[in-house]
Each structure stands twice: as C-alpha cells, then as structure tokens.
C-alpha cells in the first residue's frame, strides 16, 4: 500500500519525555473533515481526488441507535455496535497542518451516531446523489441535530446536474444558511472548492 514515509528509519533523536514542541519535527496540528453520504455516492473518489496518500480503508466500530426518534427528539436507549468500513485520506498543508478526510457511510433507516468520529471535526461535507437523495437524510439529520457545520455537495456524475439546487434544498429541507453546491468527486478542483466552502462556512459559524 503506497504511503509516504520518511527515509529516516533510525531511532528518534527525541529524548524520551522531551517536549515534542521543542523538536524541529514538532507534531503537526491535526484537523479533520467528515465526508458523509450514501453507498457509492463517491466519497472515496472525492477523498482520493485531493489526498496526498492513496485513500486507506479501516474499520471503525460505531454505535447505532434504532429509529425510535419521536417528535420531542427522544431517542431509544437501545444501542448496538457495528463496524463500518471507513475510507480516509490526508493532506499536508503549510504551517505544519495535517488535514484528514474521513469518509463514512450514512444512509438507510438507521441513524448512525458518529459522536466519536466527529468530535473535534471542522465539519462535514454531505455528498448527495440526487437519484438516491434519501440516502443522505440520516447524515443531514445528524449534523443538523448536533449543530455541526455541514454543507451539501451534489455529486454530478458524468458532470451532469440533474436537479436545480433550489429543488434539492427544498427536498432536503435545509435552511438557506447551509451552503449547497454542485461538485464532481473526480475533480481535484471541484473537491478543493467544496472543502473551501465548508471551511468558510465553519468560520462564518464560529464568527457568527
């Protein structure tokens, strides 16, 4: 599996217990963005279009709640754990920053609880295939209920937008302040613009 690694294979020169910040190779500051969306919506392609490393895959246990969500927002206490395959990539940015992109599935009638994964995340890009719009509902529900910054990226397969943004916004019932854009998971430029839109949105939320 291809991934960059330092040629330096010898023991670290850092004395045990020495403050890492004092070393020339200070630990990068790590941030992450969650890429959510239904099965085969293009999450891994999206991540791969911009990641420094080939997208890697791992398994993460997730706690899921059953669908017993009532109007008052009460959730059934029934929790079970399952594992899902999760793809991710990494981008090194100037200023010793590492940005991780974690792709996680979220569709179907179970509301996945991603508390563990999203803790400390900048926010989420919810990727949408308008042919299977309902697959993104759990993700939208989740980020909305947790007040986590998110944007909706409509993945245009074959570069074709099949629906107007306004129609999708209405169908998703997301407020006007949630950015909604067309994107193309295969395009580095489009992915870049999507991530820029999310970070700008997160900053606006922070400042607001």
């Amino acid at each position: 599996m291809a991934f960059p690694r330092s040629d330096v294979a010898g023991p670290s020169t850092a004395a045990p217990g020495a403050p890492a910040a004092a070393q020339a190779s200070a630990a990068p500051t790590v941030v992450k963005i969650i890429v959510a969306g239904g099965f085969a919506v293009g999450k891994t392609t999206f991540i791969g279009s911009i990641s420094d490393i080939d997208p890697l895959s791992t398994e993460a246990a997730m706690t899921e709640h059953s669908i017993g969500v009532d109007d008052a927002g009460g959730v059934s206490d029934q929790k079970t754990s399952t594992t899902v395959a999760m793809d991710f990539g990494r981008i090194a940015l100037p200023g010793n920053l590492w940005l991780y992109l974690f792709g996680t599935p979220g569709q179907d009638r179970f509301l996945f609880m991603w508390d563990d994964l999203v803790r400390g995340a900048i926010g989420s890009v919810v990727l949408v295939d308008t042919d299977r719009l309902e697959q993104c509902f759990p993700a939208v529900d989740y980020f909305e209920s947790r007040s986590i910054p998110f944007i909706v990226g409509i993945n245009c397969f074959e570069g074709v937008a099949k629906h107007q943004l306004d129609d999708v916004r209405e169908a998703l019932a997301v407020p006007a302040d949630v950015p909604m854009i067309y994107t193309d998971a295969r395009s580095r430029a489009a992915t870049k613009q999507t991530l820029v839109t999310l970070v700008q949105h997160a900053m606006a939320r922070l400042a607001g």
Binding site: S57, A121, F137
Partner: protein, 141 residues
C-alpha cells in the same frame, strides 16, 4: 424527476430492507477476532484516543512486545502516523489500535499527539487562526 423530501427532525422513511445489506458493513467475524490481540480488552471511553491522534515512537524497542505492538513502533518510527493509518496498515479495527497504542503510550514506547480535542481544552477545529490556515492551505493546493 421528483425528489422525495426529507422530513425534518425525524428519522427518514424506512425502506423495510435489511439495513446491513446496504451498508458497507464489515463481516462481524472479522471484527471480533482481532480483539484477541488486545486480550479481549477495550479501552475506557474516557481514554479513547481520537482516530486522528498522531503516534510517534520515541526510540525504545523491546522484543518482548507483541508482533502488533512491534509493528506499530516500526511504522511510527521517524514519522507521525495517525491511529487511523496504523489501523489501516495493520488491518486491525480502530478500536484495537486504540488499546494497543494506549498500552504503548502508558509504557512510554510512543508519544501520542493531538489529544487536546478529546480533552476539550483546545480544539483546533474551532480556533479561527487554525481554520484560516486550513482555508489558505486548501486554496493554494
């Protein structure tokens, strides 16, 4: 084509289909077995290492460590690697890596960076200057 609307604040309409068929769910048998390398232990939730926490070996080695722990030290020597990356490279679930890395951290074989978010004292993702750097960095890609 008409778009089926989402019902706000509620669970989406169920399809009646087996949810596990549609999900990218991993076979449960392959999920349980790796926990044998942790002696069946999980780590207390309060000590959960963030999936993006960076691990780096401090230079100590030991032949008495398990092959998995030795592999972690090998991979995290001379570079930082996240729990997620270690999990992918070792083909073990994130939960297993949390336990193994936690052990190695307790035993001073590795340093783990990026725990701040979990401790909620400092979260880069809600620090404006960090977000500005991220924004500028992505824009310049």
């Amino acid at each position: 084509m008409a778009l089926d609307p989402r019902h706000r604040g509620g669970a989406p309409p169920g399809t009646g289909a087996d949810p596990f068929l549609a999900f990218e769910v991993v076979d449960e048998a392959s999920y349980v077995r790796p926990y044998t390398v942790t002696g069946g232990r999980t780590r207390p939730k309060s000590e959960m290492l963030p999936i993006e926490a960076l691990v780096r070996a401090v230079g100590r080695r030991s032949h008495t460590l398990s092959p998995e722990k030795r592999k972690i030290i090998e991979l995290a020597t001379g570079q930082y690697l996240s729990i997620a990356e270690l999990s992918a490279h070792l083909h073990l679930p994130v939960g297993v890596l949390r336990v193994l890395v936690g052990d190695l951290m307790d035993e001073s074989y590795v340093q783990v960076h990026g725990l701040a978010a979990a401790e909620s004292s400092y979260n880069p993702a809600t620090t404006l200057s960090v977000l500005e750097s991220v924004l500028n960095g992505i824009s310049a890609l």
